[in-house]
């Protein structure tokens, strides 16, 4: 008898759980992001970590073998029972991530308050007008009457397909992107069959003039991310990238292409001008690199650092 009772109880609990999930899925009208359980479907708001919580030195742990870094994405929360094999399978077959992502992006994220990439409590950003920070009173009189500015929050997306590369230094490229849900749907509808098996990839090409276009590397990114640091170490080379999906049969489907960037030089040029041959090179400047980047001791705002 107690076995039956226990079974009923468990059943009820499971039902209640799914109810709960559904109810928390509803988009809140307040603009506060819903507290959804973190699944693979979750769109990340930026890299999901408040900037100040990231140690710049530790962030972007280098996976040298792959030549790839992971931006400091917090490890996906280990959900208690949600991430069972069954639910993962179900997701792969029935719910293409991008479509889910796109709809969420279109529906939920655009209305979310808070500075971009700062997935912290939006209430912290509700008071974004610096004018109001030091102000002594809420009312402000202006020559032309009274203007009370709302606090600003920046949109998560601008509705543009865009992939931008920035060469940060001779070794690192930073990429950020946005793919509209129209673009996702277009692609998804064309490639229905294998879509669930494809992986999101940043494909980097070396397009240094005079060398043709060569595929440099594939960076396997995560569906959570909308930006990535890529460790590539190709000083003086010119690169571009495509964001797309890699299918099991190795076909690559491009969603959006990037700009072209040239990585800065990290050492002396090997080119010597006949009219201006170097004097005293290279031993005079040997070990020069170690010195570079001695800079300003600090600007204003660092007063309390000592």
């Amino acid at each position: 008898m107690w076995v039956v009772a226990a079974a009923i109880a468990i059943l009820l609990l499971v039902l209640a759980f799914f109810r709960f999930r559904q109810s928390t899925d509803v988009r809140p009208s307040t603009g506060i992001p819903s507290k959804r359980p973190q699944t693979g479907m979750e769109i990340s708001t930026g890299i999901g970590v408040p900037p100040e919580e990231i140690d710049p030195d530790k962030a972007g742990k280098v996976h040298r073998q792959a030549g790839v870094t992971l931006p400091a994405v917090p490890p996906p929360r280990q959900d208690t029972d949600d991430s069972s094999l069954a639910s993962v399978k179900l997701r792969k077959i029935d719910l293409p991530k991008e479509v889910e992502l796109a709809w969420e992006a279109g529906g939920l994220i655009e209305f979310q308050t808070g500075a971009w990439a700062v997935a912290k409590d939006p209430s912290e950003y509700s008071d974004q007008d610096p004018e109001s920070k030091p102000a002594r009173g809420p009312a402000r009189k202006k020559p032309s009457g009274e203007v009370v500015e709302e606090s600003y929050s920046l949109p998560q997306r601008y509705g543009i397909d865009r992939l931008v590369l920035i060469a940060r230094d001779p070794d690192w490229v930073y990429a950020y992107w946005e793919v509209t849900h129209e673009r996702y749907r277009q692609m998804y509808e064309r490639h229905l069959r294998d879509w669930g098996l494809s992986r999101p990839v940043l494909r980097i090409y070396d397009v240094t003039p005079g060398r043709g276009r060569q595929k440099e590397m594939d960076v396997f990114i995560s569906d959570h991310a909308d930006n990535w640091y890529i460790n590539i170490s190709k000083p003086r080379h010119t690169l571009m990238a495509e964001l797309g999906r890699l299918f099991p049969d190795n076909t690559f489907l491009r969603l959006v292409a990037s700009n072209v960037v040239t990585l800065p030089a990290d050492r002396f040029s090997d080119k010597i001008s006949a009219d201006w041959p170097p004097v005293g090179w290279p031993d005079r400047y040997h070990g020069f690199q170690a010195q570079i980047g001695t800079s300003s001791p600090g600007a204003w705002g660092n007063e309390a650092d000592g």
Partner: protein, 535 residues
């Protein structure tokens, strides 16, 4: 006969901070502190040298936001009030420490110093710290230059049109205040990309300064290393910062400012005395440094601080000026022997280092210039625009992308704490370029709205915001400022596009963010840098 050249460049810059509604806030004090501790002392130092008619020219770069703030009557009034509070506090201090053999002379030193600053500012300069520089320049004692409109970190802008707008608006501001185009241009954070060159050339600029490896890594390899400029493909001279000059003055470990006899920056009555005693000298109840500091560095590694002894510090500033001069002479002889050509040593510094961070800095500078003029030595102090007179022919080369930030590239301004700003900035740039094309014939209200949108975008582009997000203690302020300017821009853009400009809102913004009164939004219209060449 000189064996080499030395050129000292002081770059003065602060972000545009003016909160119309807030009489006193912490960030507004950056300007006030800098006026008291750096701008007036340096101005006085150069004026004294000019009075004695000593040879040798120094270069001063004044950033456009700084010029606009120095010229702003509201900020001028507020500065006077700030000084009055400071003098009041200094008077209270002389009473409080009366009879203290160590502190009493220091307290009266600060009191007389602040009173002198007040007299200088109000009576001598008539609240105008721009005109005296113009006078010194016309008399030939100083060379002036400027920087990008809001000190944007140029390599991280998306489009050529933004770089053009930053450079043009910056130079126009300088021209409005000084009536001519500067010969040199200060690249914000010494950050160079080739895309800055065409507009500099077109605007009549002759040279700029780079971080050392910007010249050293140029293509082809520079014959004279970093001891001579290279001629860029656009015909500009690119000078390299001299690493030894930097280290001696700037290094935390070996630099002069760390000398045990110099004044300790971090021990300030603003932190040490009770809040109710400090009263109005503080903004609200926030503790900030007030510039009354009684201790010396003593030992950089220890928290124990001994009392400041101005007469000994003064002596050290004399010795350190001699030391700097000695090493420049050695360096000049050394490189002259190797090259058979007189090396140029370029010593660029943040102006605020002198006086604000390094209290004795202005004195050191004056000693240095005096000693170089009066003592027998073989280095000539020149301004960089004079270099072509000595060496009209220079090696053509393409300089390398670089900056003087940590590790020498863009890492400070593109880091985990601030990279989120670029997708917004880049979007706004693209939008601004499009609006400028679509509405280039706009007049009246629409034109005013477009001009204000241009101001908001320029303000959002300031390199100060990502810098503070990365390393400052007022992180939230930088985030707020950035979000606000982008927010205002987007709102204006929406209004412009829909033809529904709100005149009240516009007037409010024109009153609040009133930088660059003569801006023409059409500077953004000139072509989009094909999505293409972010650094």
């Amino acid at each position: 006969m000189a064996k080499g050249f030395l050129s000292i460049v002081l770059h003065a810059h602060l972000p545009f901070v003016k909160h119309v509604d807030a009489d006193d806030c912490l960030e507004q004090r950056w300007l006030f502190q800098a006026i008291t501790e750096t701008y007036i002392p340096i101005l006085n130092c150069i004026s004294r040298l000019a009075e004695d008619d000593l040879p040798g020219k120094i270069t001063i770069s004044l950033s456009p936001p700084l010029l606009e703030m120095l010229d702003d009557s509201l900020l001028q009034e507020r500065y006077i009030r700030h000084l009055e509070h400071l003098i009041e506090l200094a008077q209270k201090e002389t009473v409080r420490v009366r009879g203290d053999i160590n502190l009493e002379p220091l307290a009266s030193m600060y009191l007389s110093r602040f009173e002198q600053t007040y007299l200088d500012y109000v009576d001598k300069f008539k609240c105008n710290l721009i005109q005296p520089w113009a006078a010194l320049e016309s008399e030939g004692y100083v060379e002036l230059s400027t920087s990008a409109a809001t000190h944007a970190y140029l390599p991280l802008l998306l489009s050529d049109s933004s770089i053009r707008a930053q450079v043009e608006a910056g130079l126009n501001t300088f021209r409005r205040h000084f009536g001519h185009t500067p010969k040199g241009f200060w690249l914000p954070e010494c950050a160079y990309v080739p895309d800055v060159e065409p507009v500099l050339k077109q605007e009549g600029v002759d040279y700029f300064i780079m971080e050392t490896h910007g010249v050293l890594f140029s293509t082809p390899r520079p014959r004279f290393g970093y001891h001579a400029p290279v001629v860029t493909p656009n015909g500009l001279l690119a000078f390299a910062r001299d690493p030894d000059c930097s280290k001696q003055v700037w290094s935390a470990d070996e630099g002069y400012p760390g000398d045990p006899w110099y004044r300790e920056f971090y021990r300030d009555v603003g932190y040490d005395l009770p809040l109710d005693y400090l009263g109005k000298a503080l903004p609200g109840n926030t503790r900030v440094p007030l510039g009354i500091k009684y201790y010396r560095v003593t030992d950089r590694k220890s928290n124990y601080k001994d009392f400041y002894r101005p007469e000994i510090a003064k002596h050290r500033a004399w010795e350190h000026a001699g030391s700097f001069m000695f090493w420049r002479n050695k360096e000049a002889e050394f490189w002259n022997d190797i090259y058979g050509r007189r090396p140029v040593m370029v010593a660029p510094y943040d102006a605020e280092l002198f006086g604000h961070w390094w209290y004795e800095g202005p004195l050191w500078l004056e000693n240095l210039m005096r000693r170089m003029a009066l003592e027998k030595q073989s280095v000539k102090l020149i301004s960089l625009s004079e270099y072509r007179e000595y060496y009209p022919v220079n090696q053509p080369a393409e300089p390398a992308v670089s900056s003087w930030g940590y590790k020498g590239y863009h890492e400070v301004w593109l880091a985990d704490s601030n990279h989120w700003i670029y997708r917004h900035l880049h979007h706004c740039e693209t939008l601004m370029a499009r609006l400028s094309e679509d509405f280039k014939h706009a007049t009246g209200l629409a034109e005013r709205a477009l001009n204000q949108a241009a101001r908001e975008l320029l303000l959002a582009q300031a390199s100060d915001w990502p810098f503070i997000m990365k390393s400052g203690t007022v992180h939230q302020y930088a985030v707020n400022r950035f979000v606000t300017h982008v927010g205002r821009f987007l709102r204006l853009a929406r209004q412009i596009e829909t033809g529904a400009v709100d005149p009240v809102f516009l007037k409010h913004l024109e009153h609040t963010d009133n930088i660059f009164p003569d801006i023409d939004f059409r500077v953004f219209a000139t072509g989009i840098r094909d999505e293409g060449k972010v650094s």
